[in-house]
Amino acid sequence: MKQEAGTYRLERRQVVHFTIGSENYGLEVEQVQEIIRPLPVTRVPFAPAFIEGVINLRGSIIPVIKLDDLLGRQLSENNGYSRVIIAHFQEITVGLKVDSVKGVVYLNIDIDDPILKQAQIKTRYLSGIGKLNEQLILLLDLASLLEDVKLNKQEEKC
């Protein structure tokens, strides 16, 4: 559902709203398989730098990505609210550790927002920005995120 609003291009999307540190992020619901409490992570030797390790999700081995490192953020100390979002994109399923999951919300996402470009954050992994009440929610671009994780792997191989 697209609307023209001034010079902004707005899209209405349903996203899972979560936090890392003080920042608010969103991931499209279509890409979220489930949300679980943190499980023990097993480190995998020789794995790409942004892979924290693997977890056992009911018998399947799922890699967990260091999302905080990729986004240049810091997870806060364990506050009892931390969760792992199991997300999938095409054939890849990954776990993303987050500080808390707030809920599922509808957002009008602006994909050309100037704030996004001005903001002092890595924009590469963000596909848009939305406003929820007075909060800004940054929409994660899972595709480019996973691509970078994979590229890193190849670099290490060479």
């Binding site: 023990p40 995998v44 030797p45 794995a47 081995i61 890699p63 990954v94």
Partner: protein
């Protein structure tokens, strides 16, 4: 009718029939008089024809039809089984194969068979002049069931008649007339056989006459009168069947076939096998395997929980469940097992063709084709074996005159054998050819720059033999279309290693070469040793472990800045797992460390670990798309406590 959804079944089944045809044609070549093999061939060809027609593959149906015609002539003895006929039929199989492949890949059949169809037609026309006249009498053959009925009826004073019915020219409802004849005859007695079969009669697939065998108490005249009362029907002849003659004919044929009884048995048993099998999608088997894997993990978990409670009732129940799980697991493994016959079956033909084209006399001996391997292994093992057999035929086996010159039998022996040894399957490819010349390999290896001449002096023969597994190495100076391109052995080796197997060569100059492949029975569940490095647990596949021992600091020596460990008379390069795997150690220097001695081929090295946890059956799980292909890690497994442990890929450490 939309038949596309049947394509998979069609391809699988026709492949089976083609394999069958291939095998039996080669058998027929060896025993031209064996009727049962011929019958089996005929049946397969006939089925193929039917299947092709159903799928709308007209070319294929036409070709198989012509094959069938020739086979009928062979069956009736109108033409003799000769080399050129076998050749022709075999090339038909090749074309059929190509047609099926074309059909799968492009959705329609390629039209390539005209030459063969013409050749078959020529053959059948040459032999069929007399066939039509003879058809009537030649079909007086009964199968065993029919004979036993005939015999029993004779003993209880019934008479058996052979009745030939003719329908008037231009009869419109031939099947209806036939039906009326049957109705009429059923009043008199029992019909035991009719030619053509009832089904063909119903579908009006006959000319104007058909034959019936009837068992009855009444006499011929009465039957004839009754039949002639049906309009448009005429009894052409009605004769009493001489059962004794048929019986003796059959038993004579049986005696004839006595020598071939082995062959026959194998055909009968393979047929029985067909009837008792169910086709299952391989994906479903994989799913089943996964679920059983889960069950095994949960069983281990329960055992661990129970051990903390000391409740004998609980323990008993869990023990019982453990037994069931183990049974279930071995059953699922067995379901996935396929006899290696599937792979071996294509080699007689290949060996025949290649040895013909090289003008060498080779006898292929196959042993242990009933040995079973996991489906995944079977799928992969064919290609390396093809390489090895080609190598043996091309490089190993000498031309006949050369063999005679060195007092060897003119016909060379190529042995392909499989057998199970514990949890492994051994496959051997052995020839009695010229063997490998170790000195020549040394020379070539130096000439082609594979190895430094000074280094070469230190290598023993076994190590030198391993050079032939290097990429691009070949001692054959001429390249031909069979082998010698210098690809092959390295491909063979990497393939075998990807299946967690090993490959070894034994050779003696002038005597022959033997390649020994050692494969695990299955890839999904393995025995592994669990070790601890720092706080992390790792699994090392048991099949690559030789032994474990304490690390005694006095036995560590430095060689070129590398640690080696002296164990009896061995000098083992040491790899410290904590450093290799970059384990964040808590740095509490343990007084005790262990060495796990692992091997790859003849090479050995020692892995230093902090703790040996124990031997355990583990289910190998893939790491998923994101982590696939990390060198050094073969996968992961889930331990009894639900934790994940990574499996070390020992082969990549060398």
């Amino acid at each position: 009718m939309d038949v596309s959804k049947y394509t998979d079944i069609f391809v699988a089944e026709s492949q089976e029939h083609l394999d069958n045809l291939n095998k039996n044609l080669l058998l027929l070549e060896k025993n031209p008089d064996n009727k049962s093999v011929l019958n089996e061939i005929f049946r397969s060809a006939h089925t193929l024809k039917g299947m092709a027609a159903t799928m709308g593959l007209e070319r294929m149906a036409e070709l198989t039809h012509e094959m069938e015609t020739v086979l009928t002539l062979l069956k009736e003895g109108k033409i003799a089984v000769k080399q050129d006929i076998i050749d022709l039929l075999l090339s038909c199989l090749d074309d059929l194969n190509a047609m099926i492949r074309g059909f799968v890949n492009e959705g329609k059949e390629p039209s390539i068979a005209q030459g063969l169809i013409d050749a078959l037609r020529k053959l059948s026309e040459g032999g069929s002049d007399s066939s039509q006249e003879q058809t009537k009498s030649s079909d007086l053959e009964f199968n065993e069931y029919e004979l036993s009925v005939l015999k029993a009826s004779k003993e209880s004073n019934y008479k058996s008649y052979h009745i030939i019915i003719e329908l008037a020219e231009g009869t419109v409802m031939k099947s209806a007339r036939a039906f009326m004849v049957f109705r009429c005859l059923e009043d008199f007695g029992q019909i035991i056989k009719c030619i053509p079969p009832v089904q063909d009669l119903e579908e009006e697939k006959f000319d104007n006459s058909f034959e019936i065998f009837l068992i009855t108490m009444d006499d011929a005249e009465k039957i004839a009168t009754n039949l002639n009362n049906i309009s448009e029907v005429r009894v052409a002849s009605i004769t009493e069947v001489n059962i004794d003659k048929s019986l003796s004919a059959v038993s004579a044929a049986k005696n004839n076939n006595k020598d071939d009884s082995k062959v026959e048995n194998s055909i009968i048993s393979s047929k029985a096998l067909h009837l008792k099998t169910v086709r299952v999608d391989i994906d479903r088997l994989d799913d089943m395997m996964n679920l059983v894997g889960e069950l095994v993990i949960n069983k281990t978990r329960l055992e661990q929980i129970a051990s903390g409670y000391r409740m004998s009732e609980l323990e008993e129940a869990i023990e019982q469940m453990g037994r069931l799980t183990t049974d279930l697991q071995s059953l699922v493994m067995k379901v996935r097992m396929v006899p290696i016959r599937q792979v071996f079956d294509r080699f007689p033909r290949m060996v025949r063709d290649i040895s013909h084209s090289l003008q060498k006399n080779v006898e292929l001996v196959i042993e242990g084709e009933q040995t079973e391997l996991d489906r995944t292994v079977i799928d992969e093992i064919g290609e390396p074996l093809v390489h090895l057999i080609r190598n043996a035929l091309d490089h190993g086996i000498e031309p006949p005159d050369e063999r005679v010159a060195v007092d060897k039998p003119k016909t060379a022996l190529l042995r392909l054998a499989a057998r199970q040894e514990g949890n492994n399957v051994i496959i051997e490819v052995e020839d009695d050819g010229r063997g490998m010349d170790i000195d020549e390999i040394r020379k070539q290896a130096i000439n082609k720059g594979f190895i430094d001449p000074r280094e070469m002096e230190h290598l023993d023969d076994k190590a030198v033999l391993n050079i032939i597994f290097e990429q691009g190495f070949s001692t054959n100076n001429t390249v031909n279309d069979i082998s010698g391109r210098g690809i092959g052995m390295d491909v063979v080796k990497s393939k075998i290693e990807s299946l967690n197997g090993t490959i070894d060569i034994e050779t003696e100059k002038g005597k022959g070469t033997k390649v020994i492949i050692n494969l695990p029975l299955t890839l999904a569940i393995i025995q592994a040793l669990l070790v601890k490095v720092g706080e992390e647990q790792y699994a090392i596949p048991l099949h690559s472990i030789d032994e474990t021992t304490f690390l005694i600091p006095e036995q560590i020596k430095m060689v070129q800045n590398h640690e080696v460990f002296l164990l009896r008379d061995m000098v083992l390069p040491l790899i410290r797992c904590s450093r290799l795997l970059e384990v964040p150690t808590a740095d509490k220097k343990n007084s005790e460390e262990f060495v796990v001695v692992v091997h790859k081929g003849a090479q050995r090295l020692g892995l230093v670990v902090d703790e040996l946890v124990g031997q355990q059956e583990i289910v190998i799980k893939p790491l998923g798309n994101l982590l696939a292909g990390i060198p050094g890690i073969a996968g992961a497994t889930i331990l009894g406590n639900g934790q994940v442990a990574t499996i070390l890929d020992v082969n990549s450490l060398f």
